[in-house]
């Protein structure tokens, strides 16, 4: 067996047979696809910007602030998330809520996504279920550090992802990045 392997030619031929089999099988599938058999796929590639694979519901993506029925944030500015955040990337300024039954409301709620480590502790810590990481948005980028800071308004505007985990709200584009 070893001598046969050292002779190399047999091994080369078996390797070439394997790759050639892949080539011709995939070419056949491509041809079938082109001829109208749409479920024939000659490649396992997912052409990412055009198509996405389904995301797991557990996937932690860009945060959003949950809204009340009147559109104001459900967050009561208890600072739990800010305290637990290992990256210190949440910054909250509390204010009085006009409704006396609700204690407080954030006047500012900034998350510096550039620092966030996506641990999800903020979601775990929140007693009001006011912050979630289920938007399905993965593509946030900016030319500056400041552009990575998402404000309360931006976070409130986001919708939860669809059933396949794909984002439903448009990717928030920072001010420094013209699309």
């Amino acid at each position: 067996m070893r001598a046969l392997q050292r002779f190399y030619l047999v091994e080369v031929l078996s390797g070439v047979a394997l790759t050639a089999a892949h080539f011709f099988r995939n070419m056949g599938r491509h041809a079938a696809h082109a001829l109208g058999k749409k479920d024939a796929r000659g490649a396992v590639t997912i052409q990412y910007p055009d198509e996405r694979r389904p995301y797991s519901p557990r996937l932690r993506t860009l945060h959003r602030l949950v809204r009340r029925e009147d559109g104001s944030p459900r967050c009561v500015a208890c600072m739990m998330c800010e305290t637990v955040c290992p990256a210190h990337c949440i910054y909250i300024v509390a204010a009085e809520h006009p409704n006396p039954e609700i204690e407080k409301v954030p006047a500012r709620f900034d998350i510096d996504v550039g620092k966030c480590v996506f641990c999800g502790y903020c979601v775990e810590a929140c007693p009001e279920d006011a912050i979630r990481m289920d938007t399905g948005i993965l593509e946030f980028s900016s030319y500056t550090r400041g552009g990575m800071i998402y404000t309360k308004e931006a976070l409130l505007a986001l919708e939860p992802a669809g059933p396949d985990g794909h984002p439903r709200s448009p990717i928030p584009i920072p001010a420094d990045r013209t699309p």
Partner: protein, 365 residues
């Protein structure tokens, strides 16, 4: 008038070969991407588009050329000014000229003229191709030497060593073919392969010289400096002789590799796969072994033969690409061992064996 016609014909022959080799070389960048992708269950480059037309990524060679041409053409401060600029041109030049004596068709007869379908008719055509291929390595060595970079120098030195290894094996393995067909003229060798053994088997080189075929193809792949024999380049270790090159000069080295692939494929086709021969098709038409004949016009026969040649070259290139995307690379010492202790003695044995068989058989087929 006659002089003008002669000139025109000579020009046409050269132009055909030139355009064929150049376009194949350009196309191979696409083939390389697409074939490797399909072999690996991927899609391959398909984003270059003109007005939304993508054509399976066929515009990528074009996009590559534009990218290469618009990049900075950098020359290191310690590089040799003249040699550094000359090296890529030398590489491409010899790779391009090597194809000249490979015949792509039989003699074409139009208007009382006999036009042999090869760029130049040479008595020593085999040696010519061989010589041009070996000269190509000078470009690589020049690049390695003139870059003023130790890794480039290592790459150039490896290229020289590899080329000698491959050259010896190539030279010794085509010896058997030359003995069988009794000529150094490529056209005669291809003509000789039109004969039928035992009245039915085409006497192609792969039939009469199977061992030489394997040896030649292995050494030929080594001569193209591509994986599995890519030590001059060695992307994973020394990056190689073109480490200091950028822009189109780098592109020309890549191009030279592809051109050499085409040349080796053309040579394999001519020496071992019957060149432009179509089985059971001779100048008069189809002639099957059991006596059935079908006359065909001369022009159609020539067209069929040129088509057969192109098809065979493409098939060999396909196979070489298959090898390139299947095998892992050899280490430097492994390649040397394979060349000197494997290919070389085997090809010498092949010569002895061929001589013996010819002696016992009593001459050539």
């Amino acid at each position: 008038m006659s002089l003008a016609a002669d000139l025109g014909i000579a020009f046409g022959r050269v132009a055909f070969v030139m355009l064929f080799v150049l376009n194949m070389g350009g196309l191979l960048t696409w083939v390389e991407r697409k074939q490797s992708a399909i072999m690996q269950d991927r899609i391959g480059a398909n984003r270059a588009s003109i007005l939304g037309l993508r054509l399976f990524g066929l515009f990528h060679p074009l996009a590559d050329a534009i990218k290469m041409l618009t990049k900075e053409d950098f020359r290191p401060a310690r590089a040799d000014r003249v040699l550094f600029g000359l090296a890529p041109f030398v590489s491409v030049f010899f790779a391009l000229t090597a194809f000249a004596s490979i015949p792509f068709g039989d003699t074409l007869r139009v208007g009382g003229r006999e036009i042999p379908l090869q760029a130049v008719t040479l008595n020593v055509g085999v040696l010519y191709v061989f010589a041009m291929l070996s000269l190509g390595v000078y470009g690589v060595m020049m690049a390695g030497w003139s870059s003023g970079n130790n890794f480039a120098l290592l790459g150039g030195q490896r290229a020289a060593a590899l080329m000698i290894t491959a050259e010896v094996a190539i030279g010794a393995s085509i010896m058997g073919v030359i003995m069988v067909y009794g000529s150094l003229n490529m056209m005669d060798i291809v003509r000789g392969q039109g004969a039928l053994l035992w009245g039915w088997l085409p006497a192609w080189g792969i039939v009469t010289q199977p061992l030489a075929f394997v040896l030649f193809l292995t050494a030929g792949i080594a001569a193209t400096k591509r994986i599995p024999f890519d030590m001059p380049e060695g992307e994973s270790e020394i990056i190689g002789y073109f480490v200091e090159y950028s822009g189109m000069k780098f592109g020309m080295f890549a191009m030279a590799d592809f051109l050499e692939t085409v040349v080796i494929a053309g040579m394999t086709t001519s020496l071992f796969l019957g060149g432009w021969q179509v089985p059971y098709l001779d100048a008069a038409g189809v002639r099957l072994p059991w006596g059935w004949t079908w006359a065909l016009p001369h022009l159609l026969v020539v067209l069929l033969q040129v088509g057969a040649f192109v098809l065979k070259v493409c098939a060999v290139i396909f196979f070489m690409m298959l090898i390139r995307w299947t095998l892992p690379r050899f280490r430097y010492d492994q390649a040397m061992r394979l060349g000197w202790l494997g290919l070389f003695p085997l090809s010498i044995a092949n010569i002895v064996l061929t001589g013996l068989v010819l002696l016992l058989w009593g001459g050539r087929p």
